[in-house]
């Protein structure tokens, strides 16, 4: 039972997450760019994606924060970083620029890849190289 749950829970979470991204319109880069285009024909609807997601997640996340364990009693892998630093700010800025250039962020890019969106593999390969580059650079210092 426990073993089945450990396989099914992440699999189902990924599937529902991906279905949510498609339903929300996040896997259409043109729609994402329309959301980011405040000075153009602004399409604010994507704000509801983050709003809806946070509204649903607020109570479960609060519960996990207090109990520090999962429903099956195992520890939660909670982020440990504290305080504001250059990596958090600079990283956010670089990410935002890349997001605004292509209209893609990591989750939707992965889903769009599986959906066969033309050309998205170029973005995904570059993104994976970027992810890896940070760790390889850190390891050399």
């Amino acid at each position: 039972m426990d073993r089945t749950l450990k396989t099914l829970a992440p699999l189902l979470a990924g599937l529902v997450f991906g279905i949510g991204l498609i339903a929300a319109g996040m896997t259409d880069p043109a729609k994402v760019l329309a959301f980011l285009d405040l000075a153009g024909a602004w399409d604010p609807s994507l704000a509801l994606v983050m709003g809806g997601a946070i509204a649903v997640a607020l109570v479960p996340f609060g519960w996990a924060k207090r109990h520090r364990r999962t429903l099956t009693g195992e520890p939660v892998q909670w982020p440990t970083a504290r305080g504001l630093d250059g990596r958090l700010l600079g990283g956010g800025a670089l990410f935002g620029i890349g997001w605004g250039l292509a209209g893609l962020c990591p989750g939707p890019a992965v889903v769009a890849l599986a959906a066969g969106l033309e050309g998205v593999w170029v973005f995904v390969l570059a993104m994976l190289a970027g992810l890896l580059a940070v760790d390889l650079f850190d390891a050399r210092r």
Binding site: K6, P10, L11, L12, A13, G14, L15, F17, G18, G20, L21, I22, A24, L36, A39, G40, S45, L48, V49, M50, G52, A53, I54, V56, A57, F61, A64, Q77, P79, G83, L89, G90, G91, G92, A93, L94, F95, G96, I97, W99, G100, A102, G103, L104, P106, G107, V110, A112, A114, A115, G119, V122, F123, A126, M127, G130, L131, L132, A133, D135
Partner: protein, 139 residues
């Protein structure tokens, strides 16, 4: 309404991953974990929840197609822009330890001040970039 419904599903999936797998559903970390294990030739067994989540994510459009045609999607950026954008997104999200999902959904849902700052920065940078590309440069 579709955006709200999609958001509700994303929030529910993040809660499921947290409450049953004990992890933050951040796509940056979910990609970087297995990728680093591969690069460093470490066993992938420790990355099991992340890999299963990725399988689910990749299966989403295939499952969707069983019931309905996928919605229209248009990627207009050329190859050079896609390479630059991909590198920026990869480096930026890794440096900040999260993206729209890890900081934007999970981080805000757990009321993390770091996540709030990161979200404000990347949203601001996203708005500014589209403004520069579409209106200042007039491309």
């Amino acid at each position: 309404m579709a955006a709200l419904a999609g958001g509700v599903l994303i929030g529910a999936a993040s809660a499921l991953y947290l409450l049953l797998a004990g992890r933050i559903a951040g796509i940056t970390g979910i990609l970087a974990g297995p990728l680093l294990a591969l690069a460093r030739r470490r066993p992938l067994a420790a990355q099991r929840p992340q890999l299963l989540f990725l399988v689910g994510l990749l299966a989403a459009p295939l499952v969707w197609r069983l019931f309905a045609p996928l919605p229209e999607a248009t990627l207009s950026a050329g190859t050079g822009v896609l390479v630059a954008a991909g590198l920026l997104v990869g480096v930026g999200t890794r440096l900040a330890n999260g993206c729209t999902s890890g900081h934007g959904v999970c981080g805000l849902a757990r009321l993390s001040p770091r996540s709030l700052v990161n979200v404000l920065v990347f949203m601001g940078a996203g708005f500014a970039t589209v403004y520069v590309v579409r209106h200042a440069l007039g491309a």
